[in-house]
């Protein structure tokens, strides 16, 4: 499960002022393992300042094209890994990477006849780009309507690639750029080309409603994919639900960074019983530590990748006791009700905690 493979950096490209894209070489013997669906991500491992850190990055390449796996990393202010990657990674470096995973993906099939609504902002373009390319190239009959939000023109990642796709698939691909702080000379230039290409504002309720009104679905099997920072996902989702889009048709991916609920104090020195990798492990959870960290610190190897409550790789079943999740951006209410918890976010609330990892 949480096995890492060293992959070589094949190419690095500066995409914008504060983002790079990286392509990896896949050795032949790993071909059959590094299979992914458009929308899924890779987890990278680094050892920085004497600590092991993992971060997830969505694949922006398409598994349906002859492309090397590619990720794009945008700097996060004071961020440890994103800046490390932007500043130091070079062609030829070897990086430890886990097999692709993730629950956010499009089930792309040649015979599909669907309408895809893609909403993204900032670095949230990465999984969306993979879905976009895969659908356009593979599903000859499907339609794609996409909104891509950015601060201004220079921060648009993959702008050239997107323009080329727009040109190539004019009949069934619409792309609207929204800019929260547009650079006026540029916007004028674009307006003359196509009135729709550019809009001022953010991806919010008003924008979403305008968009759907303007571009109603043709193929009636419509799906809605959302990826972006902060409140963008919630806002878009709320807007869609506000016009009765069924929940089952909405798919979201959060990159993390939400504010955690740190108000709850954990139970001091709670006892943990964990069923992990066919073993029973018993230990004490030091104050302030999560279940996941307590296990890692004791030399165990629990599954995880983002450690940010986003990817749900670290999920386990709570058999006994009570926990508090500081953040939960991936499990839905039903899954929580069934006793699933994110171990990377869980601190104990009772004296004895028993969990079982199923993967």
């Amino acid at each position: 499960m949480s096995e890492f493979y060293p992959l070589q950096v094949l190419n690095i490209k500066k995409e914008t002022e504060d983002a790079v894209s990286i392509t990896f070489d896949i050795p032949q013997e790993l071909y059959s393992k590094f299979i992914y669906k458009p929308g899924q991500y890779l987890t990278l491992r680094f050892h920085l300042n004497g600590k092991e850190v993992r971060r997830s990055y969505s694949l922006c390449s398409s598994p349906f094209l002859e492309e090397y796996p590619k990720i794009a990393v945008k700097r996060v202010k004071n961020g440890l890994v994103s800046n490390h990657i932007n500043d130091t990674v070079k062609v030829g470096d070897s990086i430890d990477i886990m097999l692709p995973e993730g629950r956010f993906y499009a089930d792309v099939k040649e015979t599909n006849y669907k309408t895809y609504y893609l909403f993204c902002a900032g670095s949230g373009i990465t999984p969306i780009l993979s879905i976009l390319k895969s659908v356009l190239h593979t599903e000859a009959r499907s339609f794609v309507y996409m909104i891509y939000g950015n601060r201004h023109q220079e921060s648009i990642m993959f702008n050239d690639e997107l323009s080329a796709l727009q040109e190539q698939y004019k009949d069934r691909f619409v792309l609207i750029h929204t800019l929260s702080r547009p650079n006026s000379s540029w916007s004028d230039l674009w307006k003359t080309k196509n009135d729709y290409s550019y809009k001022k504002g953010r991806v919010d309720t008003k924008m979403v409603e305008w968009f759907i009104n303007e571009f109603p679905p043709y193929a009636q099997n419509a799906e809605y994919y959302i990826c972006g920072p902060g409140t963008m996902i919630e806002n878009t989702k709320t807007a869609l639900k506000g016009i009765d889009v069924p929940n089952t048709r909405i798919f979201t991916e959060s990159f993390g960074g939400a504010i955690e609920d740190a108000s709850v104090k954990g139970f001091k020195n709670a006892k943990l019983i964990a069923h992990l990798n066919n073993q029973r492990v018993e230990l004490t959870i030091p104050e302030g530590k999560t279940i996941l960290r307590a296990l890692i610190d004791k030399g165990q190897n629990p599954p995880y990748s983002c450690e940010g409550g986003v990817c749900s790789t670290c999920v386990c079943k709570l058999k006994q006791g009570e926990v508090h999740m500081k953040k939960n951006l991936s499990l839905d209410d039903k899954e929580v009700k069934q006793g699933n918890i994110l171990s990377c976010q869980s601190i104990p609330l009772s004296e004895i905690i028993e969990v079982e990892y199923l993967k």
Binding site: T111, Y113, Y218, A222, I243, D244
Partner: protein, 389 residues
Amino acid sequence: MHALPVEAYTSQEWLDIELKYLFSTTWQFAGFVEDVANPGDYISVQAGLNNIFIIKGRDHRLRAFHNICRHRGTQLLRAVGKTQKAITCPYHDWTYDLEGNLISVPKKESEFPNLKGELHKCDLNLHEASVDIFKGMLFVHPEKDAPSIMDFFGEVEPYLGPHKVEELIEYRSKNGEPFYTEEIKANWKIVVENYIDHYHLAHLHEGTLNMYDHAKAEFGWAGPHYWFYEPLVEDFLNDVENAAPYPLIDSVPRDQIGAYVPWLFPNIGITESESAWNTFHVLPLAPDRTLVTIRSKTMNVSEWEYTKQYSKSALSKVWTKYGNKGKYEGDKNDPMASGDFMLEDIYACEQQQKSLQSPYFSVGAQAEKGEYAIQRFQEEVKKWIEKHQ
């Protein structure tokens, strides 16, 4: 008559089988996209044994449900209309949201103590059906998880005309009726067979459809669907800008002008020409009665453009030679002398149906190419019914 027995054209038993295993197991034509234009708009249609309504949500996506209240089965919605957020049964006011979820039952606590918890979890939501769009047309299927509409029509799509149907507008009479409706006294399959019979074009319609070059016709099958194309005769093509009865459809490139006349299985034909785009929908009413509805779309240009085209067309020499003569001379009230190809077709269909009663009736011989389609269509009907029985 070849693949099917004569009873298939005369008996109620056969029609019942067709309604159940053919018209209730296929994607059925339900209208044009613009029939359900705005959120809240709905229409209901009969598709085989099922009455299905299509409603547009605020997300502009269409939903289809069986038009029966889950309480006592009353029809919920009438033919066309508009609703805001809910669908209420006229009988006892049971109410559903636009996702088909049951949301309110009058006197629930006192009358239905067994309905506990949230209503939409009581297994009394509307039965879902499927709806999708193909070439600007709405189609419904009675199953919730119907096979994709493109599994059904995908194969024939490349053989259809290049017309961008969504850009065209529909001709409607002043009271909103479609272009043409007619009850024909013949079995629905006779009407279909006449539509796909290439052999008769140069004969029955020798004076009415001769602006198309029947000798250059191309046709074939794609799945259960029939496709057909023939170019214009040269005289017509050379003067088509003037001679066309309506403004030319601009999404059809000059080198692709012609008549595309596919038959989409089982009961809708399309006639895609240089200046008009028509649907020809066939609905069985009885073993020997069939309702034909033609809806017609043409270019979205001003009244003035139509008037201009009409005058140009009237002056064109093309029509002195083509498309205006009846097969027989005589009284214009005689369909065979009318110079109207629809009347000619109806006449032929009804005459054939009458003969089916005769003990002496049989099909003597069949044109190998020109009538192959008829045999094939009957086989497709038979195959489909056997597969779904």
